[in-house]
């Protein structure tokens, strides 16, 4: 068992990384003074992983959209009980989520963390699916899909991704569609489980009022060694070009909203961290409330304080998205494009660059105030192929030239998509 201490010189924070003999990567952060414990047991398996094989398979397996999310729901049912019933005996709050590139099972508790950790490690390693229970879940997830279809923020985001990506599965809803979930069977769930819920493809991240030695002893007791099966996920070829520059939809909503996204070159590992950080500073600058553009758009009633940005990236996709409420999203688009051009022409004032660098630095430090966030930071860092706290170091080395390079190479108006959900006018 390899045990490594990872620390941040700038904040004094430290955590332990262990490559467990079972194949699992474990991150532990003891946080003095905190009462709660947050644990995430995650697999690198999300809604985009629909085409895969292991070293033993001759052919790739293709599965229905939404199956990773479906599996997450079903894993909460043990052969003899519901997992929530087990947590109810300890008082812990159990939950799970599926995103584009990961599925995580979580507990949050103030006491009994050792018992909760046993429950978590046990049920995730013990699938039990029957065709009957799969069919029962279709109704529940069907309503979850309809709920998100009534959510304009969700619609505007996925409409944008559909216009941006030709083939990459990031464009499909995490929960799938009413049609695709009908195709899911117990057999397919087992196939996906056996492929992706291999401890070599998983990570445990736990933070808060814990003792590392106790955590590791429970891991030794509960984890069943896994053979690395050489998992291979493939994605269809995806050109850098977009499908369509615009999509508009009308809904029964109170305020029209937009998502304006640049399709950027995907990347991974340390490169991803550097480019995500450069993209974040670019996003801050382009939505800076003290900029001439922001003030003008605000005074003209084109944007309001919901105007902001997001860097959204993962395996095979990378976008910088500007979004908010607006009745005139075309004007926002025009202005963002011009502002990016102006920055390239005039450069970034060092004073502004430093302001936002300090802002991002502080937000990274402030994240460490929170047990839940620390557990997520460690897990996400592992999934991204970096070490926890690396982001602070990457940020400290970033220059305004890096940001300009990012804007020049990635914020290309030929790869810009505007998605709008317009308010229905009676």
């Amino acid at each position: 068992m390899n045990k490594e201490l990872i620390s941040s010189e700038r904040t004094g924070e430290c955590c332990i990384h262990v490559k467990h003999k079972s194949g699992l990567d474990i991150y532990i952060c003891e946080m003095n003074g905190f009462s709660s414990v947050e644990a995430l047991f995650g697999t690198k398996y999300g809604s985009v992983n629909n085409l895969f094989r292991t070293a033993g398979d001759s052919e790739f397996t293709s599965v229905p959209e939404g199956i990773a999310h479906f599996l997450e729901h079903k894993l909460f049912e043990n052969e003899d009980c519901q997992v929530f019933d087990l947590y109810a005996k300890t008082g812990a709050s159990g939950n799970a989520f599926t995103s584009f590139d990961k599925t995580c099972y979580i507990f949050s508790s103030s006491g009994n963390y050792q018992e909760n950790l046993r429950i978590l490690l046990d049920f995730v390693q013990k699938p039990y699916f029957t065709q009957e229970s799969v069919e029962k879940e279709v109704g529940i997830i069907g309503q979850e899909i309809q709920m998100t279809n009534d959510n304009p923020e969700w619609r505007v985001f996925f409409n944008m991704l559909k216009c941006m990506y030709h083939s990459h599965p990031v464009k499909t809803d995490i929960a799938g569609t009413l049609e695709s979930i009908e195709k899911i069977s117990a057999e397919l769930l087992y196939k996906c489980y056996d492929t992706f819920y291999n401890l070599n493809n998983m990570v445990l991240s736990i933070a808060g009022n814990i003792k590392a030695d106790e955590v590791l002893a429970i891991c030794d007791e509960m984890l069943r060694p896994c053979e690395d099966k050489g998992l291979e996920c493939v994605f269809p070829d995806e050109p850098l070009s977009i499908v369509s520059p615009e999509f508009r939809e009308i809904q029964n909503i109170g305020a029209s909203i937009f998502s304006l996204g640049y399709k950027c070159t995907p990347c991974s590992g340390n490169d991803k961290t550097r480019r995500t950080t450069a993209a974040a500073i670019a996003g801050e600058l382009l939505t800076d409330p003290s900029s001439e553009m922001y003030v003008r758009l605000m005074n003209d009633g084109i944007i309001n304080s919901t105007f902001g940005y997001e860097v959204f990236c993962g395996d095979g996709y990378f976008t910088v998205i500007f979004s908010g409420e607006s009745e005139s999203p075309d004007i926002v688009k025009e202005n963002i494009v011009k502002e990016a051009e102006r920055m390239l022409r005039d450069g970034i004032p060092e004073k502004d660059f430093r302001r936002f660098k300090k802002t991002l630095y502080a937000s990274l430090v402030r994240e460490l105030n929170n047990v839940e966030v620390v557990a997520n930071v460690m897990l996400n860092a592992h999934m991204d192929g970096i070490r926890p706290f690396d982001s602070i170091d990457v940020l400290s080395e970033l220059t305004s030239s890096d940001v300009l390079d990012f804007i020049r190479s990635e914020l290309n108006s030929d790869r810009l998509v505007l998605s709008v959900v317009e308010r229905k006018v009676d």
Partner: protein, 422 residues
């Protein structure tokens, strides 16, 4: 952790919560005032005007620039409803000085800015400065309009309007479009003066180290305010309607939203909360286990209890064709509790769930302010242990009595126009 509360002026409390584990500071000043249709929007405009600009930083751009210079310090306002009251807050948070890269005095600067916002607003000739006010007003109208974007939130708001019809709590904490549109820079400045003078005020400072300058800043600022604090009623149970009120509205949506309101005349708050937990606040509660898991009627079906109004709301998102079936099942589950059909294990789980939540207070700065503010509203400071003990002492008999005290008052349903998915 060190907690201390002092009265710094008439009806103004100041609490410090010092906990060295934190890496940032939080300062929040809460103004408690009566929720009223005619003043709600003006009050929100007044409080939000304070954090957009000040006399020192008289444009949104200037304010934003200084805050980013101070490591992205946060400065914001918020409004929420608590029973028949409107709670308006001015909030600020910033990185602790220890983490400043160049030794900046972030705390000192933020106190100066906060003081300017609260006591030296951007006012010209007795009214808020016109340009900033125009944007502020537009923001509020946008926020009111955007409520419909969140369907379940909108349904819950409409259900509250229906359940609390004729009471202050029927109003939105943001006010309404017409009152927001009618507000002007002078009337909103008058609202600011009124809030400072008449509201109950509770301020909280959470930080890794104590800073006497915070109390001094608040004392100095409020010393110039002529105080006539109004008496606020923190608990105002809503009377049960003589007959069930059903309201249905059609929208272009795919999923129907149903909210059922039940009212109680009990004063056993711990038993009512236990009943609510067993019914629908956790993943092992009766609504989750039966309406969702057993009958697959919905993705979510849960309840929330307003102890200030003695009202329990059950909400869910469902197919139109399942409305009556879901209604019947929700009623059946409530009757199960009334009839005592729940186990000691259910009671133990509810206690553990709440104990877990209580013990996590203090792990975030906002949980500290939330806890102490609620205790202030309750009228007595009790410890987390005392509250846990009170829940542990609730017997099955008391939970049954609490359940029996609830009767259906009203039902709000957001219908889809055509049931394409039934």
């Amino acid at each position: 952790m060190k907690y201390n509360r002092t009265e710094i002026s008439d009806g103004i409390g100041f609490s410090t919560i010092i906990d060295e584990k934190f890496k940032s500071c939080l300062l929040t000043v809460k103004f408690i005032t009566k929720l009223d249709r005619s003043t709600a929007a003006e009050n929100v405009l007044a409080i939000s005007a304070l954090t957009d600009t000040s006399s020192d930083y008289n444009t949104i751009a200037a304010m934003s620039e200084i805050l980013t210079e101070l490591y992205g310090a946060g400065l914001s306002s918020s409004a929420r409803k608590r029973g028949d009251l409107q709670i308006l807050s001015v909030n600020s948070s910033w990185l602790a000085d220890k983490y400043a890269l160049d030794g900046e005095d972030i705390s000192g600067e933020m106190l100066r800015i906060f003081s300017g916002c609260l006591f030296r607003p951007n006012v010209i000739n007795g009214e808020f400065e016109a340009e900033s006010f125009k944007i502020n007003k537009m923001e509020l109208i946008d926020r009111i309009d955007a409520e419909l974007n969140n369907k379940s939130g909108y349904a819950l708001s409409r259900a509250q309007e229906v359940a609390f019809c004729g009471e202050p709590a029927e109003n939105s904490c943001y006010g309404f479009r017409d009152t927001a549109e009618a507000a002007d820079a002078a009337s909103v400045y008058a609202a600011y003066k009124r809030i400072l003078s008449t509201s109950q005020i509770e301020a909280f400072f959470v930080a890794p180290t104590d800073d006497p300058a915070v109390e001094k800043m608040l004392r100095d600022g409020f010393s110039a305010v002529s105080r006539k604090p109004e008496i606020c009623t923190f608990k105002s149970p809503s009377p049960l309607k003589n007959e069930l009120m059903d309201v249905e509205e059609e929208f272009d949506v795919l999923q129907c939203q149903m909210v059922m309101a039940f009212k109680s005349d009990s004063d056993d708050i711990y038993a009512m909360r236990m009943m609510s937990l067993i019914l629908g606040e956790t993943p092992v509660s009766k609504l989750f286990a039966n309406v969702r898991e057993k009958l697959s009627l919905c993705y979510y079906c849960s309840c929330q209890l307003s102890l200030t109004k003695n009202t329990l709301f059950v909400d869910c998102g469902i197919k139109r064709s399942n409305i009556e079936k879901t209604k019947a099942e929700i009623n059946r589950q409530i009757n199960e509790i009334k009839n005592g059909n729940f186990s000691d294990e259910d009671i133990r789980s509810a206690v553990l769930f709440i104990q877990n939540s209580i013990e996590q207070i203090g792990d975030t700065m906002s949980s500290y302010t939330g806890w102490y503010f609620e205790r202030f509203c309750d009228g007595k400071i009790i410890t987390a242990e005392e509250m846990t003990e009170a829940f542990k002492n609730v017997t099955k008999k008391r939970i049954i009595a609490a359940a029996k005290s609830f009767s259906i008052d009203s039902i709000y349903i957001m219908l889809n126009k055509e049931d394409n998915n039934s």
